[in-house]
């Protein structure tokens, strides 16, 4: 007896796989998106989003925009702003200027730029700015002079002078006068240092940079110290825990204000960014896919902020595929079918080791507290709510503890999906009562293993490159999932379970 679906199924799978492959190849050939990650150059799409409240009259918004610099080449830029006139002012101090006759209420302006990571820049340096001697109020004046003298004596030139200064301000047991300054200039440290350098007749100013990390949203600029020595200049990071490995794009290089709004108030600027791999050819020929044709249906036509979100969403099918494989082919038992995928997403934020340690710690503590709650005879909804609060408390506690112990890694535990953790704890504690600790270990271990494998697949750069750049890959994944859904053979676990038939 054959059901109609017995025949329809291979057809559907073939169709899905064909469509998927065709879409992938189309994008590869027509839009020159490389299939293999590596033969490419890194392009960052950056989006600045300016928000402010207009007063009702004419508005003029002027924003600094990045110029060519040693690590980046500017590829293409554009602005979006309904009703506004937009002008790109070129020159040594490039800016974008939006103007409108009358505007009122909340306003949003966008500026988007693609920059290419490259190091073949031989432009000339900016000349040093004029030195402005600040005048200090008294308790600070003596403090400033003391630091200045110390740093000056232990340095040989302007750059080492700046480095000494930064070191002094960041040391943990700082002397009295440093602590005084730190407290008074809290949040304006780069400005303070620039002023101190100016005081010593060293040309210096505060510039602004953007730390580039794939998928970041609502990011702020990082203030940096720029110091000149003769015709050369150097950039210094001021904060004590900089992510040194992240590439740094200088958004504003001269010490001018980043954003200047006339005719509006409460202005702020946020940045979103996303990394793409493009073939050298398409990156350099300004081959923009403005995607009018439906065939080039790609999420790259969305604003960068949404693209960044999609980057994770498009990876979820990969996680689902991993779950399908582990459940249908292997027969792994997990607590909650797709919960491991959510944990895998959390692991992508925390890194695998921290994630697993954090997960085990939180669940173990949660189980302990939950075993007390079970003696109170609470109703289910109240009990889960109590567990959620407990989970939040545990996570806060771990965050504070790890911070105090100097393990900033531990702070990332905050990325855990708390409600889901609470459910996991509840299920596991029931499981414990009903079937004993062994089953909890089996299912907990199964969940962790699934999460780790899903994480491994989802953070793989090749996989990320394929899912983000090729919509066709999604069709292929669905095809594979449908194929797995029709698999009627044995699971790996059943080869174990029924092993007793060997002796018969």
């Amino acid at each position: 007896m054959r059901r109609p679906s017995d025949l329809a199924l291979p057809g559907l799978v073939t169709l899905l796989l064909l469509i998927g492959t065709a879409l992938v190849l189309h994008r590869h050939w027509v839009y020159e998106v490389p299939l293999i990650y590596g033969e490419t150059q890194t392009v960052w799409s950056l989006e600045a989003r300016i928000e402010f409240t207009a007063d009702g009259g004419p508005v003029k918004v002027s924003m600094a925009r990045p110029a060519e610099q040693s690590d980046f080449t500017i590829l293409r830029q554009s602005g979006a702003s309904p009703g506004y006139g937009l002008n790109f002012i070129e020159g040594a101090d490039p800016r974008a200027e939006w103007t409108v006759r009358a505007a009122s209420g909340a306003q949003e302006l966008y500026y988007q730029v693609d920059v290419l990571e490259s190091d073949n820049w031989s432009g000339n340096n900016f000349p040093a700015p004029k030195i402005v001697s600040p005048d200090w109020q008294d308790p600070y004046r003596t403090a400033v002079l003391t630091v200045l003298e110390g740093a000056y004596n232990t340095s040989s030139d302007n750059f080492s002078f700046a480095r000494e200064l930064i070191k002094r301000f960041n040391q943990t047991d700082a002397p009295q006068h440093i602590r005084l300054l730190r407290r008074a200039f809290n949040g304006r440290m780069p400005n303070l240092m620039a002023d101190i350098l100016n005081e010593a007749q060293v040309p210096a100013t505060v510039v602004y940079g953007l730390e580039l990390e794939d998928g970041r949203r609502r990011q702020l600029l990082t203030p940096l110290l720029r110091v000149w020595q003769g015709g050369k200049s150097q950039i210094f990071r001021v904060s004590d825990s900089p992510d040194e490995e992240l590439p740094l794009l200088l958004w504003e290089q001269r010490g001018a204000p980043v954003l200047d709004v006339i005719g509006g108030r409460d202005s702020r600027i946020r940045f979103s960014m996303i990394r793409r791999e493009e073939s050298t050819y398409s990156a350099l020929t300004e081959h923009t896919d403005t995607g009018q044709s439906l065939l080039n249906f790609s999420i790259h036509s969305l604003p960068v902020e949404e693209q960044a979100m999609f980057k994770t969403i498009l990876l979820l099918p990969v996680g689902a595929l991993v779950v399908c494989i582990l459940r249908i082919l292997v027969g792994l038992r997990t607590s909650g079918t797709f919960m491991p995928v959510l944990f895998a997403v959390a692991f992508m934020q925390t890194s695998l080791g921290t994630g697993i340690v954090g997960f085990v710690l939180v669940v173990a503590c949660g189980l302990f507290i939950r075993s007390y709650l079970s003696r109170l005879n609470l109703l289910l909804v109240a009990r889960i709510s109590a567990v959620i609060v407990t989970v939040i408390a545990i996570i806060s506690l771990f965050s504070v503890l790890s911070y105090k112990l100097g393990m900033t890694e531990g702070l990332k535990i905050m990325f855990f999906p708390m409600v889901i953790l609470a459910w996991t704890i509840e299920r596991m504690s029931i499981l414990w009562e009903e079937e004993g600790g062994k089953e909890v270990l089996i299912q907990g271990g199964g969940s962790l293993l699934t999460a780790a494998l899903a994480y491994w697949a989802m953070q793989n750069p090749v996989v990320q490159h394929l899912t983000f750049n090729f919509m066709g890959v999604q069709f292929i994944i669905v095809g594979l999932i449908v194929m797995l859904g029709a698999y009627a053979g044995y699971r790996l676990s059943e080869l174990r379970r029924f092993a007793s038939f060997r002796q018969r």
């Binding site: 005879n377 009627a488 053979g489 044995y490 059943e494 080869l495 092993a499 007793s500 038939f501």
Partner: protein, 324 residues
């Protein structure tokens, strides 16, 4: 590699795997809309009752948290009873009370419970702790089934139940599940009950397993298991076969218990019966199921008595090996 078996060997024994069971048997023979009928024990009781299939007599149900306080009134005058979630499975949330001592309730294992322990169980049941998908549930309280004395040495602290797999109205395989101390008076295999495969023709024991390992004696009483024989075997199979007409489910696990006084009673029906029955029988389901797959419409419309007779002749101990 001694801990694994090759897939082709497993195939040659005709073992049914979960994937095939789900896609070829459950999906094909069990219409989704009929699932609630068997996933809800209260509905099962109400459905099979008019057809004259006996089930344990209900004492009452608790459907609201506000009724939990009145639990002791409901239990008044009942020395033995079982509390179970209507939508539960796998023995979860079930408490079997066999007697009382003052204010305390005594479980089959001898453990003692207070009324507040029972209230908590009922309250958890209502909140949906044991139901599929955590949906709110109803607690059923029914009379205690007294095990047939003929089984006394085969089971401890609980009634044994008999699982019969019925495919399109034909009983294809059967096993008896014997409660052990480990399974706490419940006859659920993964909780440690012993599964004994039964000869379809006679109701005699073929082979026995506990936790997936072959056993020859009951782990608590030492009783030799090959002496087990289920009384009224043909009547029991008939009852199982008739569940097909009543529910319309073509791939069904029926759980039947034999009460000391009232004879066979239907405990519950299962639309996704487990695969461990194959281990207990030392035989695979596939050859038998294939035989049912290939039946003609005339054979399928035979009355229940005829179907049982055919099944017994096909699947009884003098079974001819069916090529898979």
């Amino acid at each position: 590699m001694s801990r694994f078996i090759a897939p082709w060997t497993l195939r040659s024994y005709g073992i049914l795997g979960i994937n095939r069971r789900n896609s070829r048997y459950i999906a094909r023979y069990n219409p989704r809309r009929l699932f609630p009928l068997v996933d809800n024990k209260l509905k099962t009781k109400l459905t099979v009752h008019p057809a004259g299939i006996p089930t344990p007599a209900p004492i009452g149900t608790v459907a609201e948290q506000s009724q939990v306080a009145g639990l002791s009134n409901l239990l008044e005058g009942h020395a033995g009873f079982a509390i179970k979630p209507s939508k539960g499975s796998g023995g979860k949330g079930i408490i079997v009370v066999t007697g009382r001592d003052g204010d305390e309730f005594i479980k089959a294992s001898g453990a003692r419970l207070t009324i507040s322990d029972l209230r908590r169980d009922v309250s958890n049941i209502l909140a949906g702790l044991y139901s599929l998908g955590g949906k709110p549930d109803v607690a059923i309280i029914e009379e205690l089934i007294h095990a047939d004395p003929r089984f006394d040495r085969f089971t401890v602290e609980g009634v044994p139940d008999i699982r019969v797999i019925v495919c399109r109205g034909f009983p294809v395989m059967a096993m008896m599940r014997l409660a052990t101390h480990a399974s706490d008076g419940k006859a659920n295999l993964h909780q440690g009950a012993v599964g004994v495969g039964l000869d379809m023709a006679t109701g005699r024991a073929l082979n026995a397993v506990q936790f997936g390992q072959t056993v020859t004696q009951h782990p608590d009483t030492g009783q030799r298991l090959d002496e087990l024989e289920v009384p009224d075997w043909d009547a029991l199979l008939l009852m199982a076969a008739r569940c097909y007409e009543v529910t319309g489910l073509g791939y069904l696990g029926t759980d039947i218990v034999i009460d000391r006084d009232k004879g066979p009673q239907l405990l519950e029906l299962n639309a996704r019966p487990g695969l461990a029955i194959q281990v207990a029988n030392g035989a695979g389901l596939l050859p038998r199921l294939r035989r049912i797959d290939d039946l003609s419409d005339a054979e399928l419309s035979a009355p229940a008595e005829e179907r049982v007779r055919l099944s017994q002749s096909w699947f009884g101990s003098v079974e001819q090996t069916v090529q898979s």
